[in-house]
């Protein structure tokens, strides 16, 4: 009896840790998406493509200079790409309304995926975890927990805390917060709101890029990675409530844990194991939530 209980506890513990590290990665993606959405009203369909670009840039940079420079350079490069996209693309279509903006980013996602196909080929590239982070961090009841998972959590948490400090404690953060609700007033006070938009869009892209740098080698760096993670982060944004950062946080952890647990369970329900049903679960959660609570977990507005 006791060994069974121990192995169950071990399973729950390890999977929870994995789920949280995956959930934090998802939150790095969904927080950028949510910030851009609430500031500019633009749902950036290409957000997951920036994640993919981050992984590929990191692969390219780390092949030449090693992982640590890539950890800094790749997100900055992705952020620069994001700023260019905002300045020369989104600002042009802004006059046609939100649907046009969404369509623009949709086309962009298409284009980025094809460009990745062209430049890096259709197969996965060899983007590996660096040797110094490869290995077990600690042992829990016989099974080991990889260092890299811990490193991922560390990077995500550091990043998110610094973003939160930057948003609440710095001047530019306060301007951004003010521009969320009162763009005209902020503009009248002499701040360059379009430049704030550009910075925020670039920042969101850089955040996605950073997620790509640390997610690309933990999972796999291939041209399909954007299409695989994209729908999940949109589900998170809907489940958490459009434009709610706290909601996105809760939903990210929820879906991160849900997916991690589901893929490793083999309970059978009507001939289908839970792990087989895992890909459907986030979407099912979204549909159920929409039926019973249309504005999402922590959403404030309906419509």
């Amino acid at each position: 009896m006791l060994p069974v209980l121990f192995s169950a506890m071990e399973f729950v513990l390890v999977q929870t840790l994995n789920g949280i590290s995956y959930g934090l990665l998802l939150f790095m993606l969904s927080s950028g998406l949510t910030l851009v959405f609430s500031l500019m009203g633009v749902l950036n369909f290409a957000h997951a493509s920036f994640y993919m670009l981050g992984a590929y840039f990191a692969y390219q940079v780390s092949a030449k200079f090693g992982f640590w420079p890539a950890l800094v350079v790749a997100p900055l490069l992705v952020g620069a790409v994001g700023m260019l996209v905002e300045r020369w693309g989104l600002r042009t279509v802004h006059k046609y309304g939100h649907v046009a903006e969404l369509l623009f980013t949709f086309g962009l996602a298409y284009l980025i995926e094809e460009a990745v196909h062209l430049i890096w080929g259709r197969l996965a590239v060899e983007y590996r975890v660096p040797a110094e982070l490869d290995g077990p961090l600690f042992h829990i009841m016989g099974s080991q927990y990889p260092i890299y998972r811990g490193f991922m959590m560390l990077v995500s948490v550091t990043m998110l805390v610094s973003i939160w400090l930057a948003l609440t404690r710095t001047r530019i953060g306060l301007v951004i917060q003010a521009a969320l609700t009162h763009p005209q007033t902020v503009e009248a006070l002499g701040h360059n709101v379009p430049r704030v938009f550009m910075l925020v869009f670039g920042g969101g892209a850089a955040l996605a890029g950073l997620a790509g740098v640390i997610g690309g080698n933990a999972f796999v760096t291939e041209p399909g990675m954007a299409a695989a993670v994209g729908p999940i982060i949109f589900v998170i944004v809907v489940v958490g409530g459009m434009g709610s950062l706290a909601g996105a946080f809760v939903a990210s952890l929820l879906i991160g844990c849900l997916q991690t647990f589901a893929v490793s369970l083999d309970w059978s329900l009507g001939g289908i194991t839970v792990s087989q049903a895992a890909p459907v679960l986030p979407y099912l959660l979204m549909v159920l939530l929409l039926i019973f609570r249309p504005k999402g977990l922590m959403g404030t507005r309906e419509g």
């Binding site: 042009t92 369509l103 298409y110 062209l118 890096w120 949109f234 979204m286 549909v287 929409l290 039926i291």
Partner: protein
């Protein structure tokens, strides 16, 4: 308010379309052209049904392939059962099976998706699309997994010598359904529901105050659109004789969005133009280059940036100018702009193809253009194509200014005359 029901121009237009459908295989009789046209007919129905959402109802959907794909799955099963002799089913009525299946799933999923509008609707439709795609792979017994389910469209005895085996007979089957669906969807835009869908798209708040439930209007519009999507799914099942998970995938959903938008969302005939262009891109261009999706995506982005009304709006904008007999003044600037665009395109194609040759392992890096052959691993061709691209873009910029200057003078004088 109705304006001139079935006026002369409209009659001429519809008769010309019918004639075109009838005569097209006589003019383009090659088997390649026939396949192309059959696919175009299917795509026209699909794109028009998509525009019932995006154009007429203001609903941007990222999961429309769900309805055509599930319609195709149910038709393939119906066809296989009919082939085994379980029940008699004339092939020409199979699209009705697909349509009803599409309608049923439209009612089921539409109940959830149409609860919200705008951006949230777009996200939910994406989620439902992903859910169905994952679900299809989950039940390989019914959906056949990645490989899909194949079928044979020749069932029962030939009727009046028509067995639907030869491609030409399939073409005419698709053409008839395409014409009927076009007419039906056009008629729908004239009904009170079609008008209310426009109202809900433009100003949901006022539509609510007039006494309509906007959610209900969106729901009805989506269910009907899913019916036509199902019809197109069944037709593609007849044409290809196979239905796989790809039929419900996000790739299909994205494809119909691209086709519709490129054609022109604000106009009824826009998606028809878009479907023809899209199938041309997919079938014809994919034979020439592996980078065709890149070109398609770039074309789409340019449309979003510079011609949000699609090809249809570009065509319609010329009509008042032609009526005023002033199109001649625009011929020169248009020709210059087209020339500059072609130069820029040549530079771009050169660079893209060289990138592709370099990244693909084992591909031949030596390319030949106009009798000149060069190696993509050397620098000169990169410099040459880069220079061509930059020169083309610079020329295009000047030509665009020329076009808009001429255009503005013509518009001003037209307005002055109207006033």
């Amino acid at each position: 308010m109705r304006y001139q029901p079935l006026n002369l121009g409209r009659r001429v237009l519809w008769s010309a379309t019918a004639l075109l459908f009838l005569a097209a295989p006589q003019v383009f009789s090659a088997s390649f052209a026939l396949t192309l046209m059959t696919q175009m007919g299917t795509m026209i129905i699909f794109a028009l049904s998509y525009n019932m959402l995006l154009g007429q109802g203001g609903m941007l959907s990222f999961g429309h392939a769900v309805y055509s794909g599930l319609g195709a799955y149910l038709s393939v099963h119906a066809l296989n059962l009919a082939g085994q002799g379980a029940f008699p089913l004339p092939l020409p009525l199979l699209p009705l099976v697909g349509g009803l299946a599409g309608l049923a799933f439209g009612v089921l999923f539409g109940y959830v998706t149409t609860r919200r509008a705008g951006t949230t609707f777009a996200l939910i439709s994406l989620g439902v699309g992903e859910m169905v795609f994952a679900g299809v792979l989950m039940f390989p017994g019914f959906f056949g997994g990645e490989a899909g389910i194949s079928t044979n469209r020749v069932v029962g005895q030939p009727f009046l010598g028509i067995s639907f085996g030869p491609a030409i007979q399939v073409y005419y089957l698709v053409a008839v359904w395409c014409f009927v669906c076009m007419a039906a969807m056009f008629a729908l835009t004239q009904t009170p529901l079609g008008r209310m869908a426009n109202a809900v798209r433009d100003n949901p708040e006022r539509a609510e105050f007039v006494g309509y439930n906007t959610q209900h209007v969106r729901f009805l519009q989506l269910a009907l659109s899913a019916f036509f999507a199902g019809v197109s799914g069944a037709l593609s099942c007849i044409n290809f004789e196979i239905v796989s998970a790809e039929n419900v995938s996000a790739i299909r959903s994205g494809g119909v969005l691209l086709a519709t938008y490129i054609g022109g969302v604000p106009f009824f005939f826009g998606p028809i133009v878009g479907a023809v262009v899209f199938i041309f891109f997919v079938v014809a261009l994919s034979g020439f280059t592996k980078a065709w999706l890149l070109y398609l995506g770039l074309f789409f982005l340019l449309m979003v940036l510079y011609a949000p009304g699609g090809i249809a709006s570009i065509i319609l904008m010329q009509i008042p100018v032609i009526r005023a007999r002033r199109f001649g003044e625009l011929v020169l600037p248009y020709a210059l702009a087209a020339g500059a665009a072609l130069v820029a395109l040549a530079g771009l194609i050169g660079i893209v193809e060289m990138v592709y040759r370099l990244s693909e392992q084992g591909a031949n890096t030596v390319l030949a253009v106009l009798g000149l052959s060069f190696d993509a691993r050397t620098t000169p061709p990169w410099l040459a194509f880069g220079a061509v691209l930059v020169a083309g873009l610079a020329a295009l910029r000047h030509a665009a200014r020329f076009v808009s200057a001429r255009w503005d003078t013509i518009q001003q004088s037209l307005q002055a005359r109207a006033a």
